[in-house]
Symmetry: C3
Subunit: 404 residues, 3 copies
Amino acid sequence: MSKALYANLDGVAYGRPQQHPNDLLTRVGPGTPCGEYMRRFWQPVLASRNVTTRPREIRILGEDLLVFRDGSGRPGLLYPRCMHRGTTLLYGHVEPDGIRCCYHGWKFAVDGTCIDQPCEPDGGVNKAGARQPWYPVEERYGLVWAYMGPPDRRPVLPRWDVLENLTDEEYYQVFDNSWGAHRDPDGPEVVPYSWLHMNDNIMDPFHVQVLHSTFSVTQFVREFEVMPTCAFEYIANGVIYKAYRKLDDGREVDRISTWLAPNIMSVPSTMLAAGPSTGMGFVVPVDDTHSRIVGVARMPKGQSRQPYRVNGKTWSQMSLEERQDVPNDYEAQSGQGPISLHSEEHLATSDRGIAMQRRALEQNIRRVMEGGDPDGVVLDRSRQLVHVPSGNFFRQKERTPEPA
Amino acid sequence: MSKALYANLDGVAYGRPQQHPNDLLTRVGPGTPCGEYMRRFWQPVLASRNVTTRPREIRILGEDLLVFRDGSGRPGLLYPRCMHRGTTLLYGHVEPDGIRCCYHGWKFAVDGTCIDQPCEPDGGVNKAGARQPWYPVEERYGLVWAYMGPPDRRPVLPRWDVLENLTDEEYYQVFDNSWGAHRDPDGPEVVPYSWLHMNDNIMDPFHVQVLHSTFSVTQFVREFEVMPTCAFEYIANGVIYKAYRKLDDGREVDRISTWLAPNIMSVPSTMLAAGPSTGMGFVVPVDDTHSRIVGVARMPKGQSRQPYRVNGKTWSQMSLEERQDVPNDYEAQSGQGPISLHSEEHLATSDRGIAMQRRALEQNIRRVMEGGDPDGVVLDRSRQLVHVPSGNFFRQKERTPEPA
Amino acid sequence: MSKALYANLDGVAYGRPQQHPNDLLTRVGPGTPCGEYMRRFWQPVLASRNVTTRPREIRILGEDLLVFRDGSGRPGLLYPRCMHRGTTLLYGHVEPDGIRCCYHGWKFAVDGTCIDQPCEPDGGVNKAGARQPWYPVEERYGLVWAYMGPPDRRPVLPRWDVLENLTDEEYYQVFDNSWGAHRDPDGPEVVPYSWLHMNDNIMDPFHVQVLHSTFSVTQFVREFEVMPTCAFEYIANGVIYKAYRKLDDGREVDRISTWLAPNIMSVPSTMLAAGPSTGMGFVVPVDDTHSRIVGVARMPKGQSRQPYRVNGKTWSQMSLEERQDVPNDYEAQSGQGPISLHSEEHLATSDRGIAMQRRALEQNIRRVMEGGDPDGVVLDRSRQLVHVPSGNFFRQKERTPEPA
């Protein structure tokens, strides 16, 4: 036997059992426990500016859908295949009151009502009984939102306090192209991994110190090189962390980040700007192995978030080797695979926030399976406004009184 | 609850059962009911001009095959993997009497007979017992045809009257590249959807008025903007429709189109040229989710069908957005998906021809399952000639007698 | 019935049963009979020169692995996903004593030991219990080798006599890019077919006369146009053939080629250089349908094997039609499909060597299934040196005594 190189062969991979994901948290199609849970919440579809009279295919929670705006400005979300003979409405044309299929001209309103069947006698005497499958949508904060759950459990679309009361000097900057993963306008609109990877990332203050700060280049600010002292807390419908840092210049800062069930986040300024968070993010499951990261932030007019560059290159301009040199959220999360193999994870004390999130998710998924309503759905309009505690809060120094 | 936008949530897609195709009509592999039915008919393989001494891979009815022409001009259709050690004959070389495998030199005639085994003693003393799996072929109308069914049920290859008695001033223009779907020499040779989509299209006179005439641009002639009055009839082995139109200029025309089981069509001139049809078409299943549309038409020498263009662009030159603007048969049929989800269809009165076709197909498929012969196979050479009633027939106006 | 073209329809492909591979010999994943057998032998991973501080993904025997060299020069082969939260170590950075994950900074030595957990209190007080799954490796002959089998059965890495005692004028030329299939530096590093295709090729002296010599162009030397007389023999752990040729110029040569279980070959000079073989080759299964051909040969310094060209073009520069004209090993072997359909093979007398190889493989696979050790694993270091009989051996002519 050749024994020179290794003290022993403990822990070799031979005979290792097959690893697997946590299906309860990662399967999102119709009828799955997590899919049914997710469907109890309004989900962002696309930025309002991208919902136009040009129909677009979109997949959400494993369902293929068609999104468009009718000629009167109403957004619509329909099943893509025409109920008549199954041709996609992607080739349909929008009219003031709906969308017309290219093949035989059936026309549908944004609520699926069939309003014309031109090849049938008298335009279709039975068309009142025909309905293209559809989902209700709303618009707010520059986004189109959909409710894909059981109709009798439809909640109100929440308002988050950090986005309310926009001033005349502000606007909503909206990203529907997974900007949060790559910060690149030419990056992939949909990222090729489970929604849970980005969701895990939210309550993980420690990767900020490693991945974003000390591993390669400074991806946010130098201040994050200080390893934080972190506390995690449940709030009414989520988890927050408070990451305390004493900076080299003596300043002390509490950075509070928020996760709201099921897939909502509010990360405070990554430039460490002082004050409450100004934005919200959403990790929308496209299907089990893809997700779309949507974000909205209030911005001073005339300003906008700029692409992230290393050596002048955006994410999509980098080679694999360059991304190996300076990996970022996209690499860390896609590197977990299409769905992470949770059976091989070893969560440690620094993963406490993630463990708390997952516990909350599993409890709520089970509650929905048993017929209950999950935490965080707002059925009562008087409770529509949600408080988001996120922000970078610098502690006041005790000042020595100046000499008189 | 947010109720402003919709009167109610009737018909939302939530909870919709999983949709599915009609497997009986769309599965075409060996041993499937429709596959066995289809195998009872001669199927076109390729244009004769494309069957050469350069071997070519081709898939028909879910079977991977190799087509070539030996050095003496005989077309051959063999299993592609050499019976000896399984290497594809795609890398074989054609000789006057067969094709020789590149690996160990076994040579096969067009009927699969093994005629050389050069690495075996005396060229293979047992080679008479070896036979490469093969199918019989014939050539007619500028096409190579194959019979892939049970040998004891082999029918004669039909003759269709509209293609017979070619004059010295005519030739057969043959398309084996799904021209019927995109009318583009650079379009895909095989279209990525079930044969049933194009087959459904044949007995559908109404889409001519919508898709091809009033939806975007005039894809054939303006006369088709008139909604026709249609009658459908069973004929001996198929279905025909008679679409009557009274044109704006007072002319009246009966347009008769023919579908013959299982996948044969004769569409009259789409330029509304008067008189009987001059061509036949065939929707050959490549596999469950792909098909090849083959056509042959008698043409005056010196003339040929020209590519279809919109704004100067052929199908393959258009962007998705341009094809959304002016969808055509390819978009309508590919838009039904790889296989349409028949459980979500809602056939209406205008779909009567399709319902009749499908009923005939289902009856004949069941008959073959039970051991019978399907309608339309011609076992008796005296009945080889098939009458095809298709054409554009203008009605004679009653003329006022001219004054004497 | 149309009977003109064929005497009868014997042997048509209709009704042919579904063909299938020999799973016992071709499934190589963890837990499969052949996979477990293969794991009992050291397998080459990559050329040493390609194992660097830039981590690389590699798949062997159906397992996804990460290969790298730490900053102290030690090669490592680890499971790619970090045991902490599952991110691939492809984005890890190499340090003198290991590789550090990009996400939270866990660091692992080449034997999987966890040596840092920077986000945990005191760098991870429990890290001694953490171990990234790993495999032992060794370096020899310019290659990195891995042992992926049960730790208690680890054999010594053999030495092959034809590679030993390198002189000062020689070096090891190493190919880890499937050169043996395409002889092209730009050819595919991994070939898209089962390891058994190339393995079958080794004990097949007859394809040299057809494929490489008389089918199209001379791919090695003209002397191989002579059909050899072949004898096959079992040796202690493999099979050899002796191919005897009497050449046109009167010379007589015995060409001996060697296959050693499970996937090891020594092909003598294909330029028919006289004397023992100077190299060894290995067909490493990547997964069931892909393999990597690795080779090492002793070469005089200043010399190296040159790419093979036809009409000035290397393999990757040829079109399909050009490769049809002059097929070579890549075409013959890829032409057997991802895995050959062994149920449709017809082995003949010229395939005797292949039959002997497969018999030996099946016997040894079954022995491993029953708990035994396969032939050819060297557990005793005193038996580490393996004799390889390959070579081109020209017979001495009886010389007429010269006149005095």
